[in-house]
């Protein structure tokens, strides 16, 4: 499977630990993100001007309490949802000249993408890993991984690449020690195995960015550690850029850089 060349990090070397004033444009950048949920007549502001830059190959952990808006932020970064717009007028911000509510991937504003391009962005540029695995229960393990390629290539494209795709999926699953589980249903797997399958699915299309939403939140400590080891290993091997949200300090500590999400802002 070939990668989209421009988004491939030139060197998978670990980034310097959040050094201020780092050169090179960030791969993923968020500016003044606002998200307010409406519950009946009450507005529940969740994100109140989040700014975040993630450089190529960097592993950023977003640490925040439960309900602080971590998942919401990840959904925005992954193009599953759009930030509020226009951003609530804030004189100070406007004066500072920042563009309001902007997410850019590799320099491209997600707000400018059509629905179809956004679908493509989710398919090719990012991979999601969820706390509750979210595998499709009717599909077998191998199909749960290859489905990402089916969505990406469509009927004929997939048919052409079928062997290649399946080899890649098998290699990914093999690297997570699941070679003997290809024909099983998700219900027949343990939590750790399911999460490994979900990670393989997220990596199926070789996205430059992995977005992980408390990937170990539903696993026991030992399994969680093992999964994190695997994620770290894969990241180095593939040169992945990674945003992982968690409420667990210890887990966050494994990242290159930790940012805190409090009161709807990143500090």
């Amino acid at each position: 499977m070939t990668r989209t060349a421009p988004t491939t990090p030139a060197s998978p070397a670990p980034a310097t630990n959040g050094a201020p004033g780092a050169p090179a444009a960030p791969l993923l950048s968020a500016r003044s993100l606002y998200k307010t949920y409406r519950l009946g007549r009450v507005d529940v502001p969740v994100l109140r001007g989040v700014d975040l830059d993630v450089r190529r190959g960097e592993w950023v952990a977003v640490l925040g309490a439960s309900g602080s808006g971590k998942s919401t932020l990840l959904h925005l970064l992954g193009g599953l949802d759009r930030p509020d717009r226009p951003a609530p007028p804030s004189a100070a911000r406007a004066e500072s000249g920042r563009p309001a509510g902007r997410i850019a991937f590799d320099g491209r504003d997600l707000a400018e993408l059509s629905a179809r391009e956004l679908d493509r962005y989710r398919s090719e540029s990012v991979g999601f890993v969820f706390q509750f695995y979210h595998l499709l229960p009717e599909l077998r393990v191998l199909e749960n991984v290859t489905i990402a390629a089916m969505v990406r290539y469509g009927r004929f494209g997939f048919a052409r690449r079928r062997a290649e795709v399946e080899d890649h999926a098998k290699a990914l699953l093999g690297s997570f020690g699941l070679s003997h589980r290809l024909g099983h249903r998700p219900a027949e797997l343990s939590g750790g195995e399911r999460q490994r399958v979900a990670i393989a699915r997220a990596l199926m299309n070789d996205p430059p960015v992995l977005l992980a939403d408390e990937p170990t939140g539903n696993l026991d400590h030992a399994t969680g550690e093992a999964i994190l080891d695997e994620i770290a290993r894969t990241r180095y091997a593939a040169g992945l850029t990674m945003v992982m949200v968690t409420h667990d300090r210890e887990i966050a500590a494994r990242a290159d850089r930790v940012v805190r999400l409090t009161d709807g802002r990143v500090a």
Binding site: L80, A115, S123, H134, P137, I147, A159, N205
Partner: protein, 542 residues
């Protein structure tokens, strides 16, 4: 691509879609079965009508028209016309060997009738080498070339039947020939005499078996005037019947009844119950003679004189008004000429040619035959003659199908409900698909495609069910009759003793497409719901 994989997996792991398939299957089977049977009824009616009556009939009822041989000659010179034959159609009373009597339709025909109508096929008592499709036990007496002689010997040894009757037994080949000729050799005198051929349901002597064959009754009783019974062979082609007809005078008034006792040469079966129940075929010349429609010297009414005050002198030398009765040779007449078009010709085209031919004929014989204008309305295809009835049947089919379609709409709602609940159940999966890059259209297509698959599966299964039911409708009907005493298809109401049992492929195709359309319709709203789903909410869905 992922849509087909998921469709396959959802289909094999869920019970709900199977219910949806069942609903589509039952609805399409219902519609296709009804359509096939009712449509088959109409097709059979038209087919048998054409087989019996040819494509077009040219008729001048009751008094008939003369010089028909000239007309037939003209018609047959047309390349679009295969054959034409003269026919007399009238009504009369028949007296059967057991003295039952009732009104019947009488048709005078000659050998040429077999060229226009499928007459030879309809003659029942004839040699056959292969049993009828449903006659698996080979019960048909016609399969036995020696049946007639065995029967004659049996009757003779029995001693209950007189020798004259036994002498009537003829080989199947002879019976067929006699049926075609409508003549029979009298076994006593050796003279060839005109005969009749009866519709097979008319006498009721032969019993129709469920396998489609007829079993001749052994014996029929006959009451004699002194009291008591004599016995007759129940094989009707060995008996004779008495026919009574009413010849019409020139003014259209009956001039007295004429009766004749005629041997029965054979029986015929068209499959149209009405015709088989009350039609008697007779040799044309004999009927012409009975109805005074043959060529003969007769007193005819002369046209009124040009001068109303003219006088003439009578044989006694006195003056008197001119006598309007004159004696002259009157040509033979028939009421109808039946016409058969060349194979594959549209009956309407044949009718147009008949109109032309008749116009030429009427010009040639102006004043001696009904004019082309008068005849215009009576030169008709069988379908047009029966237009009121056929139209009613067609409208009834349309109405029933419309009602069934309406009822089938229930299936749309059923599918909607099933799909709605499946989409709700699969909310999280939809969120997952969106998160790995599936678009709204792709998600909508997943459910629409699922609807198509359910429609195709339900339609194909329904079509198979309908085929099974329609092909076996007669055994099913018989079974219903035996088990529940339920006889829905009464031949005297529905014209045919058998329920039509053919499925027309294009109808099956239409019903299949309809099933798919209904399924897609039912899947449409759930598909839109799935497509409009917010992926984030879908992922958070518990």
């Amino acid at each position: 691509m992922y849509q087909s994989l998921l469709t396959r997996r959802y289909l094999t792991s869920k019970i709900m879609p199977l219910l949806a398939i069942l609903a589509v299957m039952l609805c399409s089977a219902l519609v296709l079965t009804t359509w096939s049977i009712m449509g088959g009824f109409l097709v059979m009616l038209l087919k048998i009508g054409r087989e019996m009556e040819g494509d077009v009939s040219i008729s001048w009822p009751t008094v008939g028209f003369a010089h028909y041989e000239r007309l037939i000659e003209k018609l047959e010179s047309d390349p679009l016309i295969d054959a034409a034959c003269p026919v007399i159609e009238t009504f009369g009373v028949i007296v059967l060997p057991d003295d039952r009597q009732f009104g019947v339709k009488i048709k005078g025909i000659d050998e040429r009738f077999a060229r226009v109508a499928a007459y030879e096929q309809s003659i029942w008592w004839k040699p056959i080498s292969e049993p009828l499709p449903k006659d698996r036990a080979r019960e048909d007496v016609r399969l036995d070339p020696e049946w007639w002689s065995r029967r004659a010997r049996m009757m003779a040894s029995d001693g209950r039947i007189d020798a004259a009757e036994i002498a009537q037994y003829r080989p199947w080949e002879q019976m067929l020939a006699d049926g075609l000729n409508l003549r029979e050799r009298d076994p006593m005198t050796g003279a060839v005499v005109p005969a009749v051929v009866l519709g097979i349901e008319l006498s009721g002597f032969s019993e129709r078996l469920p396998n489609g064959t007829y079993a001749p009754a052994d014996i029929a009783g006959r009451r004699v005037s002194e009291g008591g019974f004599t016995l007759k062979s129940g094989f009707i082609p060995n008996g004779s019947v008495t026919l009574t007809v009413l010849p019409m005078g020139p003014s259209g008034r009956a001039v007295g009844a004429v009766s004749a006792r005629l041997p029965v040469a054979n029986e015929f079966r068209t499959g149209l119950f009405e015709a088989d129940k009350n039609t008697v075929l007779i040799r044309l010349e004999e009927l012409q003679r009975m109805l005074n429609m043959d060529e003969a010297e007769r007193l005819v009414e002369a046209p009124p004189p040009a001068d109303p005050y003219a006088t003439e002198v009578d044989p006694d030398g006195r003056e008197r008004a001119p006598q309007r009765a004159a004696s002259g040779i009157e040509p033979a007449r028939v009421t109808t000429v039946l016409v058969k078009g060349a194979p594959g010709t549209d009956p309407e085209a044949v009718r147009a040619r008949c109109l032309e031919a008749y116009a030429a004929f009427a010009r040639e014989l102006a004043g001696r035959v009904p004019s082309a204008d008068q005849m215009h309305r009576t030169i008709q295809t069988w379908e047009r003659q029966q237009a009121t009835f056929i139209g009613a049947v067609k409208r009834e089919i349309a109405m029933v199908l419309f009602l069934l379609l309406f009822i089938s709409f229930v299936a749309v709602f059923l599918i909607l409900a099933i799909f709605w609940s499946m989409v709700s159940e699969k909310t999280k999966d939809i969120g997952v698909l969106r998160s790995i890059g599936a678009g709204r259209l792709g998600v909508a297509w997943l459910w629409l495609r699922y609807g198509v698959v359910i429609g195709v599966a339900g339609g194909v299964l329904g079509s198979a069910l309908a085929h099974a039911v329609v092909w076996n409708i007669n055994p099913i009907h018989e079974w219903l009759g035996r088990a529940l005493g339920l006889v829905i298809w009464d031949p005297s109401v529905y014209y045919f003793p058998e329920i039509p049992h053919e499925v027309i492929p294009w109808k099956a195709g239409v019903v299949l497409l309809g099933g798919v359309a209904f399924s897609v319709l039912g899947a449409l709203i759930p598909a839109v719901k799935a497509a409009r789903m917010d992926p984030v909410r879908a992922l958070r869905f518990e």
